[in-house]
Amino acid sequence: MSAMVCLQHVTKEFTAGKQTVRAVDDVSLEIERGEIFGVIGYSGAGKSTLVRLINALESPTSGTVVIDGETITGRTERQLRPVRARIGFIFQQFNLLGSRTVAGNVAYPLRVARWPKERREARVAELLEFVGLSDKARQYPDQLSGGQKQRVGIARALATSPGLLLADEATSALDPETTRDVLDLLRRVNTELGVTIVVISHEMSVVSYLCDRVAVMEAGKVVEEGDVYTIFSSPQQPVTRRFIATALHDRPGPDVVQRLRERHRGRIVTFGVRDGHGSGTFLSEQFRAHRVDGSIVYGGITDIGAKPLGSLTFELVGTEVDVDALLVTMREHTDVVEYGGPLTPTDTTVDEATADAATDDDARVEVAR
């Protein structure tokens, strides 16, 4: 079975006056049927342009876009309309028609597809039930909260039962709790309806919560791509590390390290927590075996794709020989960052990524989900 979306060396340039911007630069991607695929990147990286190429709102300057086995590049505007109608799209600003009720908005794509009235009404009722807004059918969009508006947006995007749903910053205008609700709804769309979803975001937490695979974009290029856990646990590109730091918050920044040193007498060491490594029992066994006392002073473990990821920072108290031996053992199993103790500060340079993220004063342990 072919991939849901296949981009082959796709480039998109915009010309404004004499200046040419290459918004998407030689991108090749495959998005499999049934997966939730994330695209992450900073503002201007070309994410929106990329999804607009996927649903044919833009046509590539060069390269080929294949959707569900059909090459859509090179078609006329009129030929592209049915392609667009088969792809759902949800927007950051919801883009609901203010002159129509919630039901009217959800019915709009069905009118475009010329469904007869009775079938339309039945379908709208079914969709509003699915997104939990049956009681709002006759309300107008300006009477709804942001989260409710996005639910309407999702219902509308699903109206014609598309196999592919594109979400461009769908939760960026929402508060964290509402974001969580909308992401859960998107997951239901994926698992219950089997819809392939492409999620565009500049928030790594959205990607880590929802996606199976992720592509990282920078200056129009996909610089890194892979399954979410691999990308999180061993990022290759600096831009990827910066994004991950914003989602994990687990490593202390230089100022926090400074304060930890002032506050604690023992050696300050961070152990990475990976799937199958550095778990609680393993750590306590090692501490006992090496006669070292460890107390957690900072850290965070997040659940990424149902696997734990993060790090814990300890104050280690014991003889120098014992602590050294412990660190040797630990290095065999996970990554270890040593910040030294108050008297012998080994000034480990904290890499840029963690420095960006960890600005919190207090040591904290967060265990998400």
Binding site: N55, L57, L97, Y108, P109, R111, Y140
Partner: protein
């Protein structure tokens, strides 16, 4: 002039004014709506982006619109005679009125459409809607409230212009006021005409506001 002399003349004048205003509003309003939508959609970056068409349309609108109506009536008279077969009378005034109203309306329409959220058009395109459908069901429909208010404003402006029809013996309340009021030094007649125009305009405004409020579902 006594009341019994004036009343039949006044009724005729009211009838003529309403004929002029309503038919102008219908013809010029529709044509202006189409022209306004064309001005808006052919703008750079918009749905039917088209630089040459946009430039030409803008040039025509900019040239015609500032011409004072009283001069315009006389300037297009040869054309008016060709089209309506008369150089005076109510029908002959409707022709230049409709042209002027078309150009006036087009800018009002364009201005109301510019504030439309482009995201809505993007959403409709993403759902596979074609340009004609988008113009009808998104662009005009979403701006309907402001457009109705724009047309109400237009009604007042047309009523104003139609009064100048008096200058070419076109009939209506303007003609009535000039012929029986101004030329005969009968201020009562003039003020009756003023009063009637005020009432007509107020009623139109009231109707426009009601309709707009209804469309905006407030």
């Amino acid at each position: 002039m006594t009341g019994t002399e004036m009343l039949p003349l006044l009724w005729t004048a009211i009838g003529q004014t309403l004929t002029m205003v309503v038919s102008t509003l219908a013809i010029g309003g529709l044509a202006g709506l189409a022209l306004g939508v064309a001005l808006y959609t052919t703008r750079p970056g918009n749905l039917l982006e088209n630089k040459p068409v946009s430039t030409v349309l803008n040039a025509i609108v900019n040239v015609v619109r500032p011409i004072p109506f009283i001069i315009f009536i006389t300037a297009v008279q040869p054309l008016t005679i060709q089209v309506t077969g008369a150089s005076y009378g109510t029908a002959s005034v409707i022709f230049p009125l409709a042209i002027m109203a078309t150009f006036g309306t087009s800018r009002i329409v364009e201005q109301n459409l510019v504030s439309l959220d482009p995201g809505l058009i993007e959403a409709a395109r993403a759902m596979g809607a074609g340009p004609l459908r988008i113009i009808g069901t998104v662009i005009v429909r979403e701006a309907l409230g402001p457009l109705i208010l724009g047309f109400t404003f237009l009604f007042v402006a047309i009523t104003d212009m139609s009064a100048m029809a008096g200058a070419v013996s076109g009939g209506g309340l303007g003609d009535f006021a000039l012929t029986y009021g101004y030329q005969r030094y009968d201020y009562v007649v003039t003020w009756v005409a003023v009063g009637v125009i005020v009432v007509i305009v107020q009623l139109a405004q009231l109707l426009g506001n009601r309709l707009a409020a209804r469309v905006l579902h407030h």
